[in-house]
């Protein structure tokens, strides 16, 4: 009987604790709250923050190059690399669109590594002629970007903490080149399996442009790809 009373008592306490925690726990779906720093007013986020344009409600495009360029600008500004329109409206690019995208690439500040790399990726899915491969060669031969703040800058601001993180930063600094190599690799793989074989020689020549890079990692990746092709 004493054991039963003790178990019942424990259950009552547990139930009280459960109700206490359940009433305090926020919903997983709630928007993150902002806690105030001392002497600062509390700020609440009134609603979930979402990209300005929802991909599902955006008007359909008519395939015009300028429309695609405008869409690209929108996606780049949103910083949402998972926008489904990258694989839909921007999957197939005609020559006029690629010309506009190349212009866009050259107009972007060199520090815009993701933006530049995205353009390389989009054109890389549509390597159909000399101008495309020539563009890729230029990308591979670009001068190194030494800092995400200023590509021309030096590494004077490097701290010990940077060693901890810098593997990701290293990649981003050479991101357009990494993307170019990745897309050339895929192109050559698909050529080897029977598609687009007429341009594979051009693609290999383009790949060799990576051997002119002053970025050691780009040079190493280029040589690794070339070695893989020659097997």
């Amino acid at each position: 009987m004493n054991l039963k009373k003790a178990a019942a008592g424990a259950l009552v306490i547990s139930a009280a604790a459960a109700f206490f925690f359940l009433s305090r726990s926020p919903s997983r779906d709630s928007v993150p709250e902002i806690s105030s720093a001392p002497n600062s007013p509390e700020i609440q986020i009134a609603e979930n923050v979402m990209p300005a344009v929802s991909p599902s409600t955006a008007p359909p495009l008519n395939g015009d190059a300028k429309s695609k360029a405008a869409l690209l600008d929108q996606i780049l500004a949103s910083r949402n690399d998972n926008d489904p329109r990258l694989d839909r409206e921007l999957k197939i690019l005609d020559d006029a669109t690629k010309d506009l995208f190349r212009e866009k690439y050259n107009s972007l500040a060199p520090e815009k590594r993701n933006e530049r790399g995205t353009i390389v990726f989009l054109i890389g899915r549509n390597l159909t002629g000399e101008r495309d491969f020539s563009f890729f060669c230029d990308v591979l031969r670009e001068a190194p970007c030494f800092s995400l703040s200023d590509c021309r800058g030096n590494s004077g601001s490097v701290t010990k903490e940077d060693y901890h993180h810098e593997s990701g930063e290293d990649v981003t600094l050479a991101y357009p080149q990494y993307v170019a190599l990745s897309m050339l690799g895929k192109f050559l793989q698909s050529s080897a399996s029977g598609g687009r074989s007429g341009l594979s020689e051009t693609a290999v020549k383009t790949l060799r442009c990576g051997q002119d890079s002053r970025v050691e990692a780009v040079l190493e990746k280029t040589n690794a790809l070339l070695k893989g092709i020659s097997r």
């Binding site: 600062s40 910083r79 998972n82 190194p144 010990k160 290293d170 981003t172």
Partner: protein, 230 residues
């Protein structure tokens, strides 16, 4: 309902009530950074897949957005602003100050990283919040520290060598290992990620792998994720 089932239900209630706390932003986190952070994690929460590797299962469970969200939100309870030692850091955790808080720098929005690269850093740092694992400290990179071709591993932009620096891991479960396992699984198995996200996940994962230095850890990851490469 008998007594046994009732007590079991209570235990389950208590356990579930103690998880699922959302993180809180300090009021001095600029809106642009808050927006980017929330949007990036919102993307992660949508990830779907039918497959996941064994190591991923151990660390995160299956490749799924809710699993990643749970992983993050059960480790990080607050987000604030800090210089993270200055330089080029995007985010950090300062265990001796607050083990479950993530600090962001202005570089989180200032630098043009691909989205998956930002997330790699966030999940890398989230691993450092785990006090039960001593915050997964990094190992010193070996001296000398050479790549597969025998060349010294050094910074692409400082030229400085990584040998001897606390910027490596001996375990596949540490911050470098777990974040690269997450990204490699996304590359291989995410069924609703864009082609760019999957490509980026592979690029960054392959590079992070170089920071794992123990032979057994390397072999475990290769068997788990690079089966055709030994």
């Amino acid at each position: 309902m008998n007594l046994k089932n009732f007590s079991l239900a209570l235990v389950v209630s208590i356990l579930s009530a103690s998880t699922g706390w959302a993180y809180k932003f300090d009021s001095n986190v600029p809106e642009q950074i808050r927006t980017q952070f929330v949007n990036d994690l919102a993307f992660v929460n949508t990830i779907e897949s039918q497959q996941s590797s064994a190591l991923h299962q151990e660390i995160f469970g299956t490749v799924s957005g809710p699993n990643y969200t749970r992983f993050f939100e059960t480790r990080v309870t607050g987000v604030g602003m800090n210089s993270c030692g200055g330089g080029n850091a995007v985010a950090c955790v300062i265990p001796f100050y607050d083990s479950s808080k993530m600090w962001l720098t202005q570089n989180f929005v200032k630098f043009s990283h691909p989205q998956i690269a930002r997330l790699m850093v966030v999940f890398h740092e989230a691993r450092h919040t785990e006090r039960r694992n001593s915050n997964f400290p990094h190992a010193n990179c070996p001296v000398p520290f050479r790549d597969a071709d025998g060349k010294d591993m050094k910074s692409i932009w400082t030229g400085a060598e990584l040998a001897g620096e606390p910027a490596c891991d001996r375990t596949p479960y540490g911050s470098y290992g777990s974040s690269m396992i997450m990204l490699k699984n996304i590359q291989k198995f995410c069924s609703n990620c864009s082609e760019k996200v999957r490509m980026d996940a592979g690029i960054y994962a392959d590079d992070q792998f170089k920071r794992v230095i123990d032979a057994r850890a390397i072999d475990a990851i290769k068997r788990d994720l690079y089966a055709s490469i030994r």
